[in-house]
């Protein structure tokens, strides 16, 4: 199991044990972490699992695919550290990963 920290917009913290091979989105949804909607179920096609990744972890993530980029680019709340959590696969090197959820998913 890999530890992932979700921080809500208001600062509330949720620490969950995530399964390797699954997505960060799934770790949130299966553990009842609020602030992740994931309407499309992980198909990279709704952008409602948007998270801000704490800077020091960014380099350890896989590169953003053109499809993820297309979906992210349509969000008005996009920042440099924006990712779609359905596109981040949990692995050992991400133990302790910290992400923040935006105020709204849309």
């Amino acid at each position: 199991m890999v530890k992932i920290v979700f921080r809500e917009h208001d600062g509330t913290e949720h620490v969950v044990d995530a399964k390797e091979g699954a997505s960060v989105m799934l770790a949130a949804v299966t553990n009842g972490v609020p602030g992740i909607d994931a309407d499309c179920g992980g198909a990279c096609s709704c952008a409602t699992c948007h998270v801000y990744v704490k800077e020091e972890w960014l380099a350890r993530l896989d590169e953003i695919t053109p499809m993820e980029e297309a979906m992210l680019s349509l969000s008005s709340d996009r920042k440099d550290n924006s990712r779609l959590s359905c596109q981040i696969e949990v692995n050992e090197s991400l133990d302790g990963l910290e992400v923040q959820t935006p105020e709204f998913q849309y």
């Binding site: 499309c40 096609s45 709204f104 849309y106």
Partner: protein
């Protein structure tokens, strides 16, 4: 969206051929050759007979080719996963030149990003997106609630009236006026322009292209005047002020401005209107769900998503194949018309459990296809949900039952899935 409504025009179809030749009304979908099934004709949609046609195709021919129809040959995509694949592959399936089933024949086309591919689509959408972002909607919630309350408090109690006219249309019109801070007494112009923008001359709204052009000019002039007023005013919370004062939007060319304004008007008009009516009907047809709602109003946000799935206010979106490709084992050729029937994917039992049941507290209610998925996903989805949520919160404050007391009448369209009449009677608590 200018062209998308064309199939609802009876005139277009009637002038093209004898409508009875194409109508499927009264036919048993299981007693006809598969290849003859044609979903494009508005008949079965108005007659509310479409479901068994969708069901047979979903089970027997989920990527279905119809070689002959009033709108020419086209593919129908029936299953959730195939629809998802088309919707998320804009490099294979283009939104240009139109997202309606009828090929465009008007010379008057406004730039609207719903019928554009990347990169132009992305640039234009990004400009307008902030105006319907949740952070901005929160500011408008109080005003929208006040207007919802006023409409509901003015309704006759205990006597029959038309919910479509008195609530669904009135409410969406008022909400549009609220969102744009449009002169309230002129608000019906918004609905008129929305209808004109999607109208085919001769179908009842306008008689000629010239008349349509004139109406669009009036719309442009009105909005330009309002723009000029607002551009130098104190920052406003309405959509128009946001566009006029926004860094990235203040220098938009006039036609692009008009196109974007109309997309906001049209996109939020029929869709919300028909989901308002559809929710009342669905709860009447499923009294156990109405009882659930009375017992626990916290289910409303979830119910709103279920209503939008159940109604699917836009039955489809059309794409055009850019290259030869394969879908569900069928060979699609470049240039082929491909129609994603969201209404069918929303009933796909392989993805949605008990898909043919209306369940207001169902799990994963937001996974429905009604907003589409991918880069063209409905931009106003949170606005639509907010409007429906406020409406149902205020309905439940006042009424034990909004009772449907007569046959609903449906729109003659395979695209806009909606109601022209829904007779109801109100029963207060």
């Amino acid at each position: 969206m200018s062209d998308a409504d064309t199939p609802q025009s009876g005139t277009r179809l009637k002038s093209a051929s004898d409508p009875s030749k194409w109508s499927m009304v009264g036919k048993d979908p299981y007693q006809m050759p598969l290849e003859k099934i044609d979903l494009s004709h508005p008949g079965i949609w108005q007659a509310n007979e479409y479901l068994p046609f969708l069901e047979r195709l979903r089970h027997e021919d989920p990527v279905h080719y119809c070689a002959e129809s009033a709108v020419g040959p086209y593919w129908s995509v029936l299953k959730y996963k195939d629809i998802m694949q088309v919707d998320t592959s804009p490099q294979l399936y283009s939104s240009e030149p139109t997202i309606g089933i009828v090929d465009q024949f008007s010379e008057f086309t406004l730039p609207m990003f719903i019928a554009m591919d990347p990169p132009k689509h992305d640039v234009q959408r990004r400009v307008v997106q902030p105006v319907v972002a949740p952070a901005n909607l929160k500011i408008l919630e109080k005003l929208i609630r006040e207007r919802v309350c006023r409409i509901l408090d003015g309704l006759p109690v205990g006597e029959e009236f038309d919910w479509v006219d008195s609530v669904s249309i009135e409410l969406t019109t008022q909400m549009l006026a609220t969102l744009f801070d449009f002169p309230f007494e002129d608000r019906h112009k918004l609905t008129y322009w929305s209808d004109v923008a999607t109208a085919i001359p001769g179908a009842g709204v306008v008689e000629s292209y010239e008349e349509r052009w004139q109406a669009m000019q009036e719309c442009l002039q009105t909005f330009t005047r309002l723009w000029n007023e607002r551009v130098n005013q104190a920052p406003g919370n309405d959509l128009l002020s946001m566009l006029a004062q926004g860094e990235e939007t203040r220098n938009m060319p006039p036609m692009e401005f008009l196109g974007n304004v109309l997309l906001l008007i049209v996109g939020g008009n029929d869709t919300t209107r028909n989901s308002i009516s559809g929710g009342v009907l669905a709860l009447n047809e499923n009294p156990q769900e109405y009882a659930k709602l009375r017992n626990d109003r916290s289910v409303i946000p979830n119910m709103v998503s279920e209503i939008i799935r159940w109604q699917t206010p836009l039955a489809y979106m059309r794409r055009t194949a850019l290259v030869d490709t394969e879908l569900g084992g069928k060979q699609i050729k470049a240039g082929d018309k491909v129609v994603m029937w969201y209404i069918s994917g929303n009933r796909d039992e392989e993805v949605i459990e008990h898909a043919n049941e209306f369940i207001i507290d169902r799990e994963k209610a937001r996974q429905h296809l009604s907003f589409g998925f991918g880069i063209h996903r409905c931009m106003g989805n949170r606005l639509a949900e907010m409007q429906l949520r406020i409406l149902w919160e205020e309905i439940m404050e006042r009424f034990h039952l909004v009772e449907v007391v007569g046959e609903p009448q449906r729109v003659y369209s395979s695209f806009v899935k909606g109601f022209t009449r829904l007779p109801v009677k109100l029963h207060p608590h």
